[in-house]
Symmetry: C2
Subunit: 345 residues, 2 copies
């Protein structure tokens, strides 16, 4: 098996009849190169199947081709989904991902962030919730002048570019879905109060009820923590009520799974006697029985976009400039499965 040597930039330059710099410029899409030369170069690139050598780029250039990712809790499907998709996107641009866990120990967290900046010399950093709302982390990044994107941030929205979905609207729509199915006794389990998304989903729920002139007793609203246990306990209380709800909207899938479990224990069949909806569309949504009607978060799209943003050279300036142009609200999707149904008579 003859080993074919990878084409170098020089090979491309020769084949296209231009200088290596022209090729370099075409590859990094930055400076303007005439359409004619660009075409010539691209032709040569394709003919030789040329792919720039990342190591050489890093050594010669100012980019490190490294992207930092700060997450909080490893064990959520949110993080791993984001990670896997991010890894894929990175491949396309020749970047690499450096992931770091942040925990409650703020001091340690700051060290990790500084390490990422100084030692690893990342081109940019992605902050997953809830890291994107830790003031100390944000301050450190700002001081170091490192560009960063936040995913679903809850505060200081004009501090940096960010990517999110409309949690409020999703909360509104999924509640309306239940209302349209004839439910009026709709309960809600609020998510972790430390994460802004909880509040938005809750507000969407409230407004959907209000705009349909539906009143629910305060017992229909319980505070959860985004965990299975908290959903389970909240549901236990609600289902023990004399006049129990006919539908429960849990602010994430884990709590919805807890609700289902509680319903099973109370001999309630789902969806006939109780409709349940979740939020996230993680692995769990199709794991529990019956499968959850839920909101699909565009996590993969968020990951791809985040990488793309940091990879684009413009980004570095952008984060300093007016960041209003760098707000990305992606679409969510209601995924209807078997955990909800028209209210029985």
């Amino acid at each position: 098996m003859a080993k074919v040597k990878r084409a170098r930039i020089q090979d491309v330059a020769e084949k296209a009849g231009v200088s290596t710099m022209t090729v370099s410029r075409v590859m990094s899409k930055d400076t303007k190169v005439s359409a004619a030369k660009t075409a010539l170069v691209m032709e040569a690139v394709n003919a030789l199947n040329y792919r720039p050598n990342v190591a050489a780029r890093r050594l010669a250039g100012s980019q490190s081709f490294l992207i930092g990712l700060l997450y909080f809790d490893l064990d959520t499907s949110y993080v791993s989904k984001f990670l896997l998709r991010g890894l894929k996107s990175c491949r396309a641009t020749g970047h690499h991902l450096v992931a770091d866990e942040i925990d409650d120990d703020i001091e340690k967290s700051i060290v990790a962030v500084k390490d990422l900046i100084e030692v690893t010399q990342v081109d940019g950093i992605i902050l997953l919730p809830p890291v994107c709302d830790i003031p100390e982390v944000l301050t450190t990044l700002k001081e170091a002048n490192v560009p960063f994107v936040r995913i679903a941030p809850d505060s200081q929205l004009n501090l940096s570019p960010y990517i999110c979905m409309d949690d409020y609207q999703a909360g509104f729509e999924i509640t309306e879905l239940l209302i349209k199915q004839g439910h009026t006794k709709i309960g809600h389990i609020i998510g972790n109060p430390n994460q802004g998304a909880s509040r938005l989903r809750y507000q969407g729920y409230l407004d959907a009820l209000r705009s349909n002139q539906i009143n629910v007793p305060p017992e229909y609203i319980e505070q959860g923590m985004f965990t299975y246990d908290s959903g389970f306990n909240a549901a236990k209380k609600m289902l023990a009520l004399k006049d129990r709800p006919s539908a429960i909207f849990a602010a994430n899938d884990e709590m919805a799974a807890g609700v289902i479990s509680a319903a099973h224990m109370n001999q309630l069949t789902i969806p006939n006697q109780l409709s349940v909806t979740g939020f996230d569309d993680g692995h769990l949504a199709t794991t529990v029985t019956p499968h959850l009607t839920t909101i699909r978060q565009p996590i993969q799209e968020m990951a791809a976009l985040a990488i793309e943003l940091i990879a684009s050279k413009k980004f570095a300036d952008a984060s300093k400039a007016n960041s209003r142009e760098y707000r990305h609200v992606l679409d969510f999707e209601i995924v209807e499965r078997e955990s909800n149904a028209v209210k029985g008579t």
Copy 2:
């Protein structure tokens, strides 16, 4: 804030009074350098806080510092745990992880593997189960002469170095745990038959019963698929038996979660009326109510070891040489939680 330039190999060499090559050799730990010079170099390295520039190493040397990771199903906590830990280990050695999903489309899979080898030029590849048992993938790797480590392989064990845990022993011990608690009517839900671990766990279960002179009717053994649904359905059948088991050992946590759900639906309290044990100790284990007694797989340790193996230069030769020395069986651990109890009278 004055930006401190990172020390280069030359700075270290000057400070230590040796040539750059000596420093290089010390850093890569490979050739022998006298103890005296090594000490000198290390001192300078520490004083200057020197860290080799990975890009330069890659450009000049023969290593790519890239490690490929082939996985099958993204959505298991197995993969994400492995990934996160792997990412961490990579940081320490300056390597990077390139992850690629393999699916049922064998042809596409082979393309992905070849791409990893030829385009990405990885130093080595890690195969997660069940990718590590796909013959076409193994053949391709062998032909390309790329070193690889397999995690928990099921076949052709002397084909390559591998890392695993003793699934048989774990199955044996967790069954014995139930037996010691007085259970004799112990059911088992077998895992996906395409994964060798299923068979081993099952065999451990059988042998534990046998060595305690316990016989169970064939209805106590159901075939599952490692999914929640399959566990749920298997348990439904078993619990509907006239003489139902007092304990069920599911071959993974997801199926165990299904068992719990089925038990709830049958009004059985856990662990009083039914003991349940899982396998994996993933997120789910502490998510369901009650928390699962299960086997903690040393996934993180496996990840760290796999990276370490590939990072060590010796590895390249090793995979060609007699690979018998490269079998690593790591310890597991029984994690006792609340899903099992002494058999009620």
